[in-house]
Amino acid sequence: MLKGSGDIVCTILEYLPVGICIIDSDYVVQIWNSCMEQWTGVGRDTLIGTDLREHFPQVKKETFQNRIEGVFTGGTPVVFSSKIHTCIFDAPLPGGRVRRQQTTVLPVEYPTGWYAMVVCEDVTSLTDEIQAYRRMKDTALQELERRERAEYNLRVANEDMLAYISEATVRLKTPMSLVEENLQEILHEIEEGTSTPEELTTALKMQIQMAATIALNLQELNHAIIAGKKEIPAAYRNMIQQ
């Protein structure tokens, strides 16, 4: 067994925070580090010297074996992503969830020949974080889209409202100018003494009534804006109701 060689590398592998397993070309386990023991719940006493395929069904699969075949002759390293394979070793988390693994198989040469070093990283937390980030991003994008739509509607409503107010202002300006003209006329008549007090009283009463009508119109416009009367442009009314 490689462990028996007393190699310092074996001691280093033992304490790495990733799962390490070294097998020979017959899949006989040479090294099974403490991280692997902890994750899988299978001790090295049970595994070392036995065929890894007998303990883990994923390793037994032909697709796995075909991929790592070249490693035993010093070929290129092989990676198994968690997205495609989820996990190579059955190593459930304390709550029973699957431990997602990213696995790299590297060729290692010893005087006795080529071995495969299986390096297993736990990417469960990373996957969870990325999925949470994706959900957050999707929500943010949807919210942004909704806000952009609302802003557009608000712009349209404001433009409609401005048009409505302009029109209302024009409508109110005519009677206001009339009242102003009439009051100027009454003032002139008082200065000239051409009208009787009764005639002036009648003329002033008429102007007061007209001013009252204008004030009423202004109040109606105000109510229309606040309460969403039918005269208000539809876009603005929808905005008020929202």
Partner: protein
């Protein structure tokens, strides 16, 4: 480059074709999607040509999976995609639905496996005829421009690149992928010497 016999280039093309075919087989075994890798176009280009070729990526960052090698032959191999194409490819292979594909860490890790399979197919084919000791680094994912991709591996301007262009057809998507193999001049000479020997050994 001119002194490389066309028959040797043909053999290299055939080896690469076999490697790509093997990679397609592996990808189909592994994934739910049916992956078709079209017959690749293989060219031998200089570093200068690579700079010109980089223009086809419009100077944008690419997504690449890279493996360096050393020993009887030395250099680096990269599987290169434009980044949106790489994202679309990975999503299609994993069967995940998307609106705007994005290459986050998990997707980059999956691309690393896809690139690893393709590179292993091609390098395995070449390694099989060499029968010499070559050591490889584990595959790594990189995002950079084509021009900068091999910057750390380039010793001199004499280095040559075997450019393999293939198309990945998965579901309804169609993504162009490049395998770029950067060799030291002496290494490429070694490869072609072995190829020539292979031709001599073959019975008529």
């Amino acid at each position: 480059m001119a002194d490389i016999p066309e028959s040797s280039m043909d053999t290299l093309r055939e080896l690469i074709n076999i490697g790509i075919g093997r990679a397609a087989g592996t990808l189909n075994e592994l994934t739910r999607a049916r992956v078709i890798l079209e017959v690749p176009v293989v060219e031998l280009i200089s570093m200068e040509d690579l700079r010109n070729h980089a223009a086809s990526f419009n100077g944008r960052d690419t997504s690449a999976v890279k493996i360096d090698f050393n020993g009887y032959i030395a250099g680096s191999t990269a599987m290169v995609f434009n980044t949106p194409g790489a994202a679309a490819l990975v999503y299609a292979i994993t069967g995940e639905e998307f609106e705007k594909p994005e290459l986050d860490v998990m997707m980059a890790e999956t691309l690393k496996e896809v690139g690893n399979i393709c590179i292993n197919g091609v390098m395995g084919s070449i390694g099989n005829i060499l029968h010499e000791r070559i050591t490889y680094t584990p595959p790594r994912y990189e995002e950079s421009t084509v021009e900068h991709l091999f910057k750390t591996n380039t010793i001199d301007s004499q280095m040559l690149i075997v450019l393999v262009n293939t198309r990945f057809l998965v579901s309804e998507i169609d993504v162009d992928g490049y395998i770029m193999m950067l060799f030291e001049f002496a290494s490429l000479k070694n490869v072609f010497t072995k190829i020539a020997q292979l031709g001599e050994d073959e019975p008529c």
